[in-house]
Symmetry: C2
């Protein structure tokens, strides 16, 4: 298992990796969508499967042992490229790209297709919960209050249609090591799902948190 | 967009489709995992991408217009093969296979790998919410009280490790068109995440629901 790994990349190397892994991962997302929607015949499908298995075998000839983890650099930047919601290298992630505001706000515009379906034509209610958990955490992180989710309450106001969506989250309350964040997901007709979550600074990170708090108290209270 | 579609398949045809689509979809799940974890060089990655794009183009030569929807047969069986949690044909779904008990209980044992990660080595908190939403809905459906999620509350007791997991959900309260379900996800050390959800019979389904309720009142109150 890979944890929080320190790995500095030059700006050029970072740009090279993003330009390489981003499009490759996107091609596998497209394949996943086509896998679900295709109506080609049995022979075509079996041939596709054999080819997919051959590609996988070649990729696995050299791979990391477990999960990707989170890589961070000396400037404080992180690369959660395996993350199930925002991971640049994760074909299961839509992925979302959040605009983060240091006041403690995160917003994202994105599109969800057939692979995120629950009821016909609608976003799976659990997918909305998945995305809101990440969004609320991003808002906390943006506001200098990163934490693990302690609890999450989701309220479904109406169904959310697959297609173009918008997600928005913000810090609502700051209380010591606890932060309460709220957020919404919506389609063209406005917000359809609301969330409130409590995020807690993990014990191992509290020293760092206290230090940052002393240096920039305005960011924390 | 495809909705609830009536489509009867003979048992043989159903078995044929499961044996065809199940392994093909699984091969794409494996590719997604390898895509995230591979460390092969740039040339190998670009070659893989070109091949993936070619396969996708062939699959898309004949495909349904929008999302998969839910197919149902005259015997009442459903095939939610596009579902983001349980979909047999959805490479984004783990997928989970629930054992459903007509008393209103659903359980599943499954494994989550690198593509479901949040913090390093741990299941993304939102993935737990995604799975629990489905599990609670499965319990309601199993107990003859299908519904749309109205609200969901998730409590994270401790982190959940990637690997072998168990999910369990059950009906806690029945009240007219509303059902309250509860459930847990856990790893080898027992339950780590708890959920409670309220599920509501959609307006368009209430006639059917009332009819079933009259015929078999013991299942509903």
């Amino acid at each position: 298992m890979h944890g929080y790994q320190h790995e500095d990349l030059s700006p050029d190397e970072l740009a090279r990796q993003e330009a390489l892994y981003g499009p490759f991962t996107q091609s596998v997302r497209e394949l996943a969508d086509a896998t679900l929607r295709t109506t080609v015949g049995e022979d075509d499908l079996r041939r596709a499967q054999a080819e997919v298995e051959a590609i996988t075998a070649r990729l696995r000839a050299s791979q990391i042992d477990g999960s990707y983890g989170v890589r961070y650099s000396s400037d404080g930047g992180t690369r959660p490229w395996g993350n199930a919601v925002v991971g640049l290298r994760n074909p299961v992630a839509p992925p979302l790209d959040f605009v983060r505001d240091p006041e403690g706000r995160a917003t994202s515009e994105f599109e969800l297709g057939a692979t995120y379906e629950g009821p016909p034509g609608l976003v799976h209610g659990g997918v909305s919960a998945l995305i809101l958990d990440q969004a609320l955490g991003e808002a906390c992180g943006a506001g200098g209050r990163p934490g693990m989710t302690g609890g999450l309450t989701i309220t479904y106001k109406r169904p959310t249609r697959l297609g173009k969506l918008r997600c928005e989250a913000w810090i609502a309350e700051r209380d010591g090591y606890k932060t309460i964040a709220r957020g919404t997901i919506g389609d063209a007709d406005g917000p359809s799902v609301e969330a409130e979550g409590i995020f807690i600074v993990p014990k191992w990170a509290r020293g760092l948190f206290d230090q940052a708090n002393q240096e920039r108290p305005d960011r924390f209270e």
